[in-house]
Subunit: 216 residues, 2 copies
């Protein structure tokens, strides 16, 4: 099984048993997280912005408006950090101290580069298909002008790791004698009832791929 | 109404109509987001880590293990960025280009400082009460040793802004003639059935404050 070798910068040191380096685990978290938080520095100030990402194999893609100062910073080759986190539950312990969350998180370090041509289009398709498989071929494809207005940045998955917490609270032994409720309140991102566009032609059905995505 | 005056670094430039600077809006997003993503730089490399935050008035708090290198970096006074994002829905347009997400996001810039004494305890209470109101007084309070093992970092809310997208897709006028489904698939973080700790005494009821939090 492919594994991302931890470096001094990606090895999980705090609670090392939570560290995961298998590519399958890293990829699955990246694929499930709706967004990633992307960190870069400009004039000594770190910035963290939410972005929608995509993945093809061991390459991550980010996209945005070509004119934006932030996207240009991401494409500059300067060091980046892309972090994707899924919150899986509140962990309610018997002591305030041992309260926690169950979560799955991936941290990717690397340098971004602008992507052009066929790879750029495939990257946009991958971003779309990751979120709603089947949507890409159902909608109007990007025009040449739209492609010019979009900047796609790639980042190789090389220096990355995952950190995962699962399971019940871990209380201090004497605290198990306490009588308050303890356990996990699971959390997940859930879809609500789809809201049709006000200008949608009445009677337009929800496509099968969307029903599937919504879990119906 | 209190307002965070935008600076050159926090003014929303891309799609400026999405910018929000009212303190009420900024605070509400921070309070609802389960976690924040915290950015800092070390030796020229930005890092972005998920952390559980709390707020008292115009002051944000982060906490973690006192021994961790990351927390120490946050307390060093170096520039930080704390970003909290709520994903509210997938926006399905008629063109690939106009696909989007509905979201609410706050970006806070500033410098962190370690907090001690009474403020430190109140900060931990605020973090706990923000996530599960009522839990703090139900559990064993932090011991002196646990307080020493915990580092709390404060960050003043001064240079911050929110960015919010709501509503249906905005398609190019000719694309409204296309016939595929378009609209919004709403998303929200939802609680599942609570999982009692394996060592919980059978028959221990879920407390009222937790039932309320779970929306029952």
């Amino acid at each position: 099984m492919k594994r991302y070798e931890p470096t001094d910068r990606t090895k999980v040191r705090r609670l090392p048993d939570r560290g995961r380096y298998d590519a399958d685990v890293v990829h699955a978290i990246l694929d499930e997280a709706p967004i990633a938080h992307v960190g870069f520095a400009a004039e000594g100030q770190p910035y963290v912005l939410p972005m929608i990402h995509g993945r093809i194999g061991a390459r991550l893609y980010l996209h945005g408006a070509a004119g934006g100062r932030h996207l240009r910073a991401l494409a500059s080759g300067a060091p980046l950090c892309v972090t994707a986190t899924l919150v899986d539950g509140l962990v309610l312990a018997r002591s305030a101290f041992h309260h926690s969350m169950n979560y799955r998180c991936v941290v990717v370090l690397g340098a971004g580069a602008a992507v052009e041509g066929e790879e750029k289009l495939r990257a946009l398709e991958a971003i779309s298909e990751r979120l709603v498989p089947g949507r890409w071929s159902d909608v109007r494809a990007p025009s040449a002008v739209e492609m010019k207005q979009t900047l796609v940045v790639s980042l190789d998955l090389k220096e990355c790791s995952a950190k995962v917490r699962v399971g019940p609270p871990k209380d201090d032994e004497p605290d198990y004698a306490l009588t308050m409720w303890a356990g996990v309140a699971p959390l997940r991102l859930a879809f609500g009832e789809p809201v049709p566009d006000p200008r949608l032609k009445p009677g337009t059905p929800l496509p099968a791929y969307l029903l599937k995505k919504l879990g119906r």
